[in-house]
């Protein structure tokens, strides 16, 4: 009986302690976010300080958040969905989970290819998918574009993570959009034939594999290299310093980019506050911190990129509307499966 009593008491205590956000007149905004960086939390706190609007956050992967929003339906408390790629925002729009919101600030700050035509979502930051390479082993005159990665001269040299990864998926989506479906299949098969090893690990692991000599060229996001260069771990900094970065396709369409972005939830109970939060995150001074802390590029062109990114050099970005990437995402997964890119 004692145990049962203890069990009941614990259960009661557990049920009563952490409560859901109170549904009183307190101004608040509920965020479902895939981004779980410390800087986000700090900026949310700044937003609360400036506006008095409390920010409630649930973090999980975007895929899971979408399923959660879909399941919760009209009762869904989320006001704002924040993801770290365009593909998931497009899917959220397809699943009818977002609503249009017209904001002058968004329209003026964000270039049209970085937001949805229907005003369903907008980019907040930009990250570029680039090539890291071993300078002493790679002749860059032969490596100018993503397409060059499929050239058999790089057999046994190319490193990348698995095709589960959304950034690899949207890269292939951009190749489908630019080069066509059959070229994209040939590209994926060609790159796969050049793998130095089976796809595995995360972006940092690919850079370390170059330093270790396992391969020569890695497909990585700029901000992971930025984080490695600023790492707590001296050995990791050293590995990142031993590689060089290359922005592909500078002679034609530009380097493939992806975004962190946000959209107002369809059944948002605090729609106005959600919009306020988006506009806050786009403000020049906030963009500076937002992008800096995570080595991303600001979408507000008035804000400057971090010194570290500036050192990597300016580049032309592929202005393919990000909407197209989302639409081609499923097809890109199919192609990866077809050619057997893990």
């Amino acid at each position: 009986m004692r145990y049962l009593f203890i069990a009941f008491t614990l259960l009661l205590a557990a049920c009563t302690s952490p409560s859901a956000p109170e549904q009183t007149t307190v101004q608040e905004v509920n965020v479902y976010s895939h981004r779980h960086y410390d800087i986000d939390q700090a900026l949310f706190e700044q937003f609360t300080k400036e506006t008095g609007i409390k920010v409630n956050v649930v973090n999980a992967s975007a895929d899971e958040l979408l399923v959660r929003m879909q399941t919760e339906g009209e009762n869904c408390p989320a006001d704002l969905l924040i993801t770290s790629d365009a593909g998931r925002l497009v899917r959220a729009a397809d699943m009818n989970l977002l609503q249009a919101s017209n904001s002058e600030i968004v329209n003026q700050t964000v270039a049209p290819y970085l937001r949805s035509v229907d005003n369903l979502w907008t980019a907040l930051t930009v990250r570029a998918r680039v090539l890291a390479y071993a300078p002493e082993r790679v002749d860059t005159s032969l490596l100018r574009s993503y397409e060059d990665l499929a050239n058999p001269i790089w057999k046994g040299k190319v490193l990348t993570r698995t095709s589960n990864n959304i950034y690899n998926q949207s890269l292939l989506a951009s190749i489908i959009a630019n080069d066509g479906d059959s070229m994209a299949i040939a590209w994926a098969a060609g790159v796969k034939a050049n793998f130095a090893r089976d796809p595995q690990g995360n972006d940092r692991d690919q850079v370390k594999a170059i330093a270790a000599g396992e391969g020569d060229i890695a497909i990585v996001n700029t901000y992971y290299v930025g984080k490695m260069l600023a790492s707590d771990n001296a050995a990791e900094r050293e590995a990142a310093e031993s590689v060089k970065m290359l922005f592909p396709n500078q002679n034609n369409r530009g380097t493939h980019i992806n975004i962190s972005g946000a959209g107002v939830a369809k059944y948002a109970p605090n729609k106005d506050n959600a919009l306020k939060l988006i506009e806050f995150l786009l403000r020049k001074d906030v963009q500076q911190q937002f992008a800096d802390a995570n080595y991303e590029y600001p979408v507000n062109k008035e804000a400057a990129a971090s010194d570290l990114l500036k050192n990597m050099g300016a580049f032309t970005e592929d202005r393919l509307p990000l909407e197209n990437l989302g639409e081609l995402n499923a097809r890109s997964v199919e192609i990866y499966n077809e050619v057997g890119w893990n």
């Binding site: 899971e64 399923v67 009762n75 698995t162 370390k208």
Partner: protein, 540 residues
């Protein structure tokens, strides 16, 4: 008169008792139904969706199947070897450190698999500690890429072997010794005794441990993903979450479930075939002292495994911690630890409530139906956490819509606790079921014949007799929830973080040094229930 000697209860009481039992049976049925509804909702929802199966056609399926089976077989065999050999060594022999290793070798249980995956990859990687040490001695080649299948099997085996170690140890130390004594009286020499009598007797315990290990393997997601091994489990995620292809996801879930069901059937068939009754009177098999080279080898083996499975990864986490700026994380720590504890204790309380009532009713009614009610609640243990999360969401929405109250249950802490109950009732089922099996029912029947009410049977007989089982179950569930990731991640309310979710988020953002503090906390706080587990095992 003869008539008066018939017990007066013979006429009135049984009918009365049946009614009371009926109430309890309904209660157990309702509880089981509650626990099972999310799963039923899930499968009906998925099945209704239909969906195409083109996506996963010929290329993916064989690869998923081969990888899944290789992984399960690989980890199963290596934990079988590690767990059994270490249990035999520490329970049957005396050697320097033997006593210490009996506890120490349980400790890796506190390591969540996804943290272990990052940790071992980090130890061996280029620019990892091993490499740096090598370099300072002029050797630049002291690193290895352990990502991939063999590495994953090794990592999972190192964190999961304690399941086999624990179950086997318990079996060696507290049971069967009368068999050994009669065998000995027939003149069998000790080594032959161990080989011919003890090992066969241990089979059910070993099989039970290996079965638990296999379930844990099939439920892992983080480690598989990081190591780049596509299996049925990762396939479900890709199909459902990345491609929105529910049809494929449900098919894959069915395949996974089939594997689990086959393993479960094999285990219970095997254990029925090898069932032995226990005796409590005999003394345990006395330990033999090892000397010289044998003692040295024994200490090296146990010490080596302890070093590789626990000391090295913990040291590596401390090493990472020393590099990171943890001031931010440190300020958050009490809140994170509090949330973790709240989840673990609240979840465990709910799990025990479910399992105690269903097991009590099984004992009370002694029918096939009661047995199956008791067993049915265990099914959630065989289903990956993220899938259960979706089922619980569907269920919460159903409840909310029924009562037309907006979002009350959905997105609440209660929903999260309920999800733990669905997922982990199976963990508590095993020890409680075993305990109530042992009760032989005689006391219970005696209680019934003197007219104890069902409530008194529960309080005065069932609960006290199941004490150890309850304690063991609580400990196991607390350990599991403490390490748990997907359910907590997906179902948690606003502004709610635990040590496990925080560790995962940092690691997922490729900020492993920042992950060190919460990860280390998961392991160190997790040691408390593991040490408790040791005490329980010892006292059995």
């Amino acid at each position: 008169m003869a008539g008066t000697s018939t017990p007066y209860s013979g006429l009135g009481k049984p009918g009365f008792l049946r009614v009371r039992r009926g109430g309890w049976l309904i209660l157990a049925t309702v509880i089981a139904a509650l626990v099972l509804t999310p799963l039923i909702l899930l499968f009906t929802n998925l099945a209704a969706d239909g969906g195409s199966f083109d996506q996963l056609s010929n290329t993916q399926l064989p690869r998923y199947a081969i990888n899944t089976l290789t992984l399960v077989a690989g980890v199963g065999l290596s934990t079988l070897f590690l767990g059994t050999s270490l249990a035999l060594l520490t329970s049957l022999y005396r050697f320097p450190g033997a006593k210490f290793f009996r506890i120490a070798l349980l400790l890796p249980l506190a390591f969540p698999a996804y943290i272990a995956a990052y940790v071992y990859a980090g130890i061996f990687e280029y620019s990892g500690p091993l490499h740096l040490i090598g370099r300072s001695f002029g050797n630049n080649d002291l690193y290895a890429n352990i990502l991939g299948m063999p590495g994953l099997i090794a990592v999972l085996s190192l964190v999961l072997y304690p399941y086999v170690f624990a179950t086997t140890r318990v079996a060696i130390e507290s049971r069967y010794t009368s068999y050994l004594e009669s065998a000995r009286s027939l003149g069998l020499e000790r080594n032959a005794l161990i080989r011919k009598v003890l090992l066969p007797l241990l089979r059910p315990a070993i099989a039970g441990g290996v079965f638990l290990v296999m379930m844990e393997v099939l439920n892992d997601y983080g480690a598989m993903k990081y190591f780049g091994i596509p299996t049925f489990t990762t396939g479900i995620f890709t199909a459902w979450f990345s491609m929105g292809d529910l049809g494929s996801a449900v098919r894959l879930a069915m395949y996974l479930f089939t594997i689990v069901a086959i393993l479960g059937l094999v285990e219970s068939w095997y254990n029925r075939r090898n069932k032995v009754s226990e005796s409590h009177r005999s003394r345990p098999l006395e330990k033999r002292q090892l000397r010289g080279i044998k003692a040295f080898l024994a200490t090296s083996y146990a010490g080596g495994i302890f070093f590789v499975a626990f000391l090295a990864p913990v040291a590596y986490l401390f090493y990472l911690l020393s590099m990171a700026d943890s001031s931010h994380a440190l300020a958050e720590w009490p809140k994170l630890a509090g949330s973790s504890l709240l989840c673990a204790l609240g979840g465990a309380a709910l799990v025990l409530l479910v399992v105690i009532i269903t097991q009590f009713v099984r004992q009370l009614v002694k029918s096939k139906y009661g047995f199956w009610i008791g067993k049915s609640i265990a099914v959630g243990y065989t289903i990956p956490g993220a899938i259960i999360a979706i089922g619980v969401m569907l269920f919460s929405r159903l409840v909310d819509n029924t009562f037309n109250q907006g979002m009350i249950v959905a997105g609440s802490f209660l929903a999260l606790l309920f999800a733990y109950a669905v997922r982990f009732a199976g963990v508590a089922y095993q020890p409680l079921h075993a305990e109530s099996e042992k009760q032989s029912g005689r006391l219970f029947e005696a209680g019934q014949s003197v007219g104890l009410s069902a409530k008194n049977l529960l309080v005065k007989i069932f609960l006290p007799l199941s004490r150890k089982g309850i304690l063991l179950a609580t400990t196991l569930v607390v350990i599991d929830i403490f390490k748990e990731l997907p359910l907590t991640l997906i179902l948690r309310p606003f502004n709610f973080n635990t040590l496990a979710t925080k560790a995962f988020e940092y690691a997922d953002d490729e900020m492993i040094t920042r992950a060190a503090l919460p990860a280390l906390s998961v392991v160190i706080v997790g040691l408390i229930p593991v040490l408790l587990l040791h005490r329980i095992l010892r006292s059995r």
